[in-house]
Amino acid sequence: MSQKNTLSNKHFINWFRLSSPMTFYPLAGKLIPIFWVLAFLFGVAGLWVSFFVAPIDAVQGQGYRIIFIHVPTSWMSMFIYIVMAVWAGLGLVLNTRLSSMMAQALAPIGAWMAFMSLWTGAFWGKPMWGAWWVWDARLTSELILLFLYLGFIALQASIDNPRRADKAGAVLVLVGVVNVPIIYFSVKWWNTLHQGASISMTKAPAMAQTMLWGMLLMALALWMYSIAVALMRVRVIILERESHADWVRQLSEVQS
């Protein structure tokens, strides 16, 4: 019994130690290559499925292949926002520096994902709907999500005191996370009020399986990619914020 207790105690301490930038910095350095390799493998598999396995679409021809990048980026943009909110919330509640840094590191990637989703959406919409932009509920929500990301980044960038920036950013993200579903439904309601039914995609049922695989593999690749880049960025943020700490000064890359 007592042994078990010390064991769990040890685990607790380990987790606690990991949350300090000093121990996390070298750990992140070791993890980054692993995630790059995973991202590369999933990316190659995903691209192979999306270009060479998935058959041509009956209605949209080859143009539908944009879906393999469009849908995963949309998923990731929403997923990263939620993850960011979790990290920011942890930072706010537990007052751990590292989780706020994670939230900060994730924001630019999420914003790029939202941007890519909008961009590919435009290049998909033009041949399929005949317009670069349609005020469709999903597109509009995605645009608003991009604005939320940009607002978070701008708020963080404009507060010089990092602790205050963390807290302010966390409050903003948490408000945003509550707001996202509300925004989505309000936009949907607005859309049905002003427009007829939005254009629905048609696909042969037999194809759905391979399409889903392609999208899943691409999403996995983007997920691993996001982790890798977020870890890289967290390391930079740690260096910037802790630049006066002794352990930073003793790092081998800083000591020339």
Binding site: G61, G63, I69, P108, I109, M116, V248, V254
Partner: protein, 62 residues
């Protein structure tokens, strides 16, 4: 399912849309880590400078 590379790159007439979607995404995914790396280099350079400046200060006060 593709009979020739040309056919692959033509994407059934949707080449512009498909390749500019994938191309721009690839570009962004490439630029992002490069930007992080350049930021990393600049902060490391600054830290080195600061350590050097401290050394100069110590030598100066001796």
């Amino acid at each position: 399912m593709w009979t020739s590379p040309d056919e692959f790159f033509a994407m059934g007439g949707y080449a512009l849309y498909v390749w500019s979607s994938f191309g721009v995404c690839a570009l962004i995914l490439l630029i992002e880590p490069l930007a992080v790396r350049s930021r990393c280099k600049s902060i490391v350079k600054r830290l080195k400078k600061e350590i050097l400046a401290d050394q100069f200060d110590k030598e100066g006060s001796k």
